[in-house]
Amino acid sequence: MEQLPGAVFVINNASYETAFVSAGYQTLFARDPESMYRDSSDWIRAVHPQDLPQASGLMTGASRTSIGESYRVVHPHRGNVLVEHRVVPSTSIGSLQLHYVREIPLKKVALAPDDLEDELPVDDTREILRAEVDRLLAQNAELQEMQHLAPYDTSMFRDLARAIDAIILLVKAGRVIYANPVGAQALGRPSYELPAIPLAELFGSAVAMRIVQAVEHGFRDQLVVGRPDGSVTTIDVSVQPLQLGNFSVTFIMGVDVSEQFERSARMAEELNNHSRLVRSQLFSQLYARLAHELNQPLTSIVAYGFGVSTLLQSSGADPELSDSVQRMVSEAERAGAIVRKLRDLFGEPDSEQRPIEVVGLVGHAVELMETELARQRIDLQRRSQCSDHTVLGDPAQLEVIVLNLLRNAIKAVVARGEPRWIRVTCSVQGDNALIEVVDPGVPFPEHQRLRLLESPLNAESSGNASSIYLCRRIAHKHGGVLHLVPDRDLKIFRLVLPLHVEPT
């Protein structure tokens, strides 16, 4: 085919994939032939913008009859190059289009278009092209199969792939004999290379074996594909046997979920960080509370002991008795010093304070819980009357409140069964931002409602109480408050935070 001056490319009329590109493509269009294999309309990127209308007609107009157009190619070194582009549909070799493009010598440009048409060796070109493609087909068994498959995949694969932007692969005898552009991109290789690569090299031997066996039993799974550049793609696939005429093939349809995978991993990591923060905050809060609770009785012991020691001394009692009480007081003081030291070590850390957009705060917390909400089939309803309103505080700490409230709501919905919704609203009331997390779970009876808001050191408090207590403490630290709003039908947690006003 290289005997022809100019560029030749062969395109599958059904799938619009490039089956062959001659080296002349690079010379004439100054573009990499690999680009044509990735996208059969690559050549049009080199066309002069003013000539695009006639050039683009060549892409779709040659399904039954031969057509030709002349246009200018913008060459980076030679400037505008006038070319003649002829597209020949072939009936003898299935659904392939043969494109022949060659430069029009300057001396011909002056001729009228009709004269130009007569000058081009149309019939010769067609014959040479056909002969070359036949040779190509004879040498390439996979291309032969592809040619035969074409009448079947025309309606199914192309339309399907376009509609859902899916990866579509056809596997036969341990090779990918067809990959649509999305599929080739996911596998990180040009589609023309795929038939030459054993499945085991693409998917690993275990998965390759499953795909081969899927001729009898289909499966659905996530496959991890190593690409030549070292990156890894995760594909969520459905692998099914498919009969195409006389051919039994394995049909793989899937979507690249690498991004979702990475996003899920990132979300999981963020949630994990939040959990750590919650544990650490809870521990600090509990420790501060514990220190307070211990220091109270220690203060009493010291005061009582001091009083007793003073009275003993003034009453002339046995000095050993007075001395013993003083030692008791000293020990209590020592215990107090230890509690203080531990409190300083594990007490509440300093927190960041900066303006935070209320909508963003809620949005990020909801985003982190999206996977869990979807897993539990819970419909999340979001309503916002806030625009760019901000509150001042530690974003991580405030997010802990919204996350905890969402977690509690999810638990409540799951425990109840139906209906499965959670509503999160943001609004502004006076100088405050209100964030409400509402679920249709069973509302708390009054005595439980009050207990839920008590300190977790209360013997009757539940695990829920610990997290809600922490949320209340965080809200309080931010000058806000967390209510459990009394309601007959719904469980409503309301977080009230003072709005941040930029100093003028």
């Binding site: 010291v302 009083g307 009275l311």
Partner: protein, 118 residues
């Protein structure tokens, strides 16, 4: 008369006992509001900080006239958190609970003069 304001009855009773042993009568209140409702002429006030109805600092801010006329000592298990703010409001000192008896004796001497037992 020494006034003790603390929501923990054990603190009120034990501190009153220690003061009595040193020869100082005292009157205890469970919160600042109770003191405001039925005040006594105090020579010294021991005021707790963390109380449910009104914190010690809130009381001080709301009634500077009391603090300016009567030496007031703030007590807290979180003294480090409020010390500077309290001192700026004319508080004599902030005691970190539990505090050594020697500190108590020194404060009494400084503000009420020596007692028979001290």
């Amino acid at each position: 008369m020494i006034v003790i304001i603390d929501d923990d009855p054990a603190i009120c009773r034990s501190l009153a006992f220690a003061l009595k042993a040193l020869g100082h009568p005292s009157q205890s209140y469970p919160n600042p509001l109770a003191f405001l409702k039925d005040p006594v002429d105090a020579g010294l006030i021991f005021l707790d900080h963390r109380m449910p109805e009104m914190t010690g600092l809130e009381f001080i801010k709301a009634h500077p006239e009391i603090i300016n006329s009567t030496p007031t000592i703030l007590m807290s298990a979180y003294a480090h958190e409020i010390r500077q703010e309290a001192l700026d409001l004319n508080i004599v000192t902030v005691l970190d609970k539990p505090f050594p008896p020697s500190v108590l004796v020194d404060l009494l001497k400084e503000h009420l003069g020596p007692t028979a037992s001290g």
